[in-house]
């Protein structure tokens, strides 16, 4: 589904990604872990199409297409979804109206009929249950005055509405208490099928207790320096990141 080859990216003059290689297949969950500043969020941003980052080298192929050549909206229409680490507050735009525009622009792109108001509300109600989010929240301006947990739940709600082929969860666990973490993870797990894939970007292992990864990759200085199964995450939790740094220094 997703093939990243030798990806290099910088912002201003800081080289952040220094040759990433990653292959993600349908049905898989990959966790990207690593110490602060290792490039985890940059990788997520580059995949979503954030324009401040400049890709200097390498390629990203998504379902046979050149992802890097696409505008952010086209990536979303092709099936990429990024749950933001810090979801943006947008005053005056209600989540419902925004989602309706979003769902319908994506449907039109895929050659489907846009949903009318009734069908949209029906789908919305169904997905709201799935991620345990209240309608009163969705009537309000997008993320405005939402708590950290509400914002993250809203991200997963949007994911459920857009049914992406590849979801990238960028530090979705940050700022969540244990109950919110459970609700958000449950939502993600319910959305998992054998046809979609998930990349979980996280600093801590605890999210991976709920969303069980097939593969764990450790990112350090803009490169994947170690890959393994979920046991690697447990090892990182127990030993911290220093031993990885030492290994890299020795190599």
């Amino acid at each position: 589904m997703l093939t990243i080859q030798n990806l290099h990216a910088k912002i201003d003059n800081n080289h952040i990604l220094n040759g990433i290689n990653l292959e993600v297949k349908a049905g898989e969950i990959h966790a990207i872990m690593g110490p602060n500043g290792s490039g985890k969020s940059t990788l997520a941003s580059v995949l979503a199409g954030r324009e401040e980052f400049e890709v200097m080298e390498g390629s990203v192929e998504f379902l046979g297409k050149d992802l890097l050549a696409m505008a952010p909206e086209d990536r979303a229409r092709e099936g990429i979804f990024m749950a933001f680490q810090y979801p943006v507050e947008i005053p005056g735009v209600s989540t419902i109206n925004f989602m309706k525009t979003s769902v319908n622009q994506i449907r039109v792109h895929r050659g489907q009929q846009p949903l009318d108001a009734v069908s949209f509300l029906r789908v919305m109600k169904e997905r709201m249950k799935l991620v345990e989010i209240d309608q009163s929240l969705l009537n309000r301006a997008l993320n405005e005055g939402f708590s950290g947990g509400e914002k993250k739940r809203n991200e997963i709600f949007q994911m459920s509405m857009l049914e992406p082929k590849l979801a990238i969860l960028d530090e979705t666990d940050s700022g969540l208490d244990i109950d919110a973490l459970r609700i958000v993870s449950n939502g993600v797990n319910k959305l998992r099928t054998k046809n979609n894939a998930i990349i979980v970007v996280t600093h801590y292992q605890r999210l991976l207790d709920y969303i069980i990864p097939d593969f764990v990759h450790v990112l350090y200085k803009g490169k994947i320096v170690k890959s393994g199964t979920k046991d690697l995450a447990l090892e990182l939790e127990a030993k911290g990141y220093d031993w990885i740094k030492d290994e890299v220094a020795l190599a």
């Binding site: 324009e51 507050e89 947008i90 005056g92 735009v93 925004f98 525009t101």
Partner: protein, 433 residues
Amino acid sequence: MNLSTTDKNITSDVSSFIQRRVLPVTDELRSHALSIFQNLGLPGTKHEEYKYTPLTRELEKNFSFQHDRVASHVKDLTPFLIPGVEANVIVFVNGIYSREHSAIISPPSELTVLDLQEVLDAKNPEVIRHFNQYTSIKTDAYAAWNTADWRAGLFINIPDQSVVKAPIMIYYINDASAGEVICSNRNLILTGKSSEVTIVEKFNSFGTGNHFTNLVTEIAVAENALLNFYSIQNDKGNRYQYTNTEIHQKNSSRVNTFSFSLQGKILRNNLHLMIDGEGIESHMYGLYLLGDNTLADNHTVVDHKKPNSFTNELYKGIMDGSSRGVFNGKIFVRPQAQKTNAFQANRNILLSEKAGVNTKPQLEIWADDVKCSHGCTTGQLDEEALFYLRTRGIHKDSARAMMLYAFAGEVTDKIKHTPIKNYIDAVISERLQ
């Protein structure tokens, strides 16, 4: 005091123009206003109140003041009318009242509309008591020009307790297809005790000649009355305009003003609220959505003269192209106006590097037990929010429109009259596409 004049020539050109139009100037007030006008001279950009608004220079450059053009063969005004409203319609074409296009549908028990000059000539005591009492012709040369020169005007009277169901729509249409047009109009509106009325002024034009409208409207709002006042300025790039709206409020009255400056060359709005009573609640909303090289200048004054009143002002601007916005908001709280609540906010978004805004809040507070605040912000569209919307599959242009529409929505959502709101919403969303 000719220091502030850019050029004496335009003042004398306009003087001769006025004298040719209003000959002989026998009316005492008109000749008095004319001499004030000549003494003051039109304000140049050295004048504090016109620092960013070269209205005088632009008039000088683009008008000859040689022709008094009133004739027009305009028949169909439909494209300019706000659809879906059962309204009292009053139309001025080139500054002249058009009987053909006007119709008052409200019964005389709700409202009377008369020719202002006729009621002045008849020495109607109510009219004499209010006319020219609220406009400061001594300091404002454009108001003095209007007072000397006005060609046609309305006296609108809303009796006590009258709830006027149909709004009053006043259309100022300039037909500049034969060349430059210069209009001066003058209105006096008295709303009676506990009356309610909605008044809309709208400005449009035909033709490609330059045209200038100088409009002064004085409104006296009596005890416990409600006034909703809308100004819709969405013409073409050949409109030059000065409007001066003076609203005088008595005890427990409520006023909501809405000013939409959407298109034109130079639009200067002086909107003044005199809070001359207690228990008053007033809201002033403004939206300027500008492109090309439009300049919209809103000078507002809220003058709290008595205690225990509340005023709130929110003006928002979106500027694209080489357009310019100017906002100057004065709030005065006089020594006796204790327990005043007065708030003001001005927020701007600049969409292009060439667009600009000059904003200046000016609070002068002499009373000590008051709550007042002001704030102004100017920035670009939030790039992070734009990116967020795009990652949800929303096209860049729709995402941008969505955000701007939401920004404007803080003003348009306050419109109380549904057909007017629908009309403004449609104009704005079309502009933002």
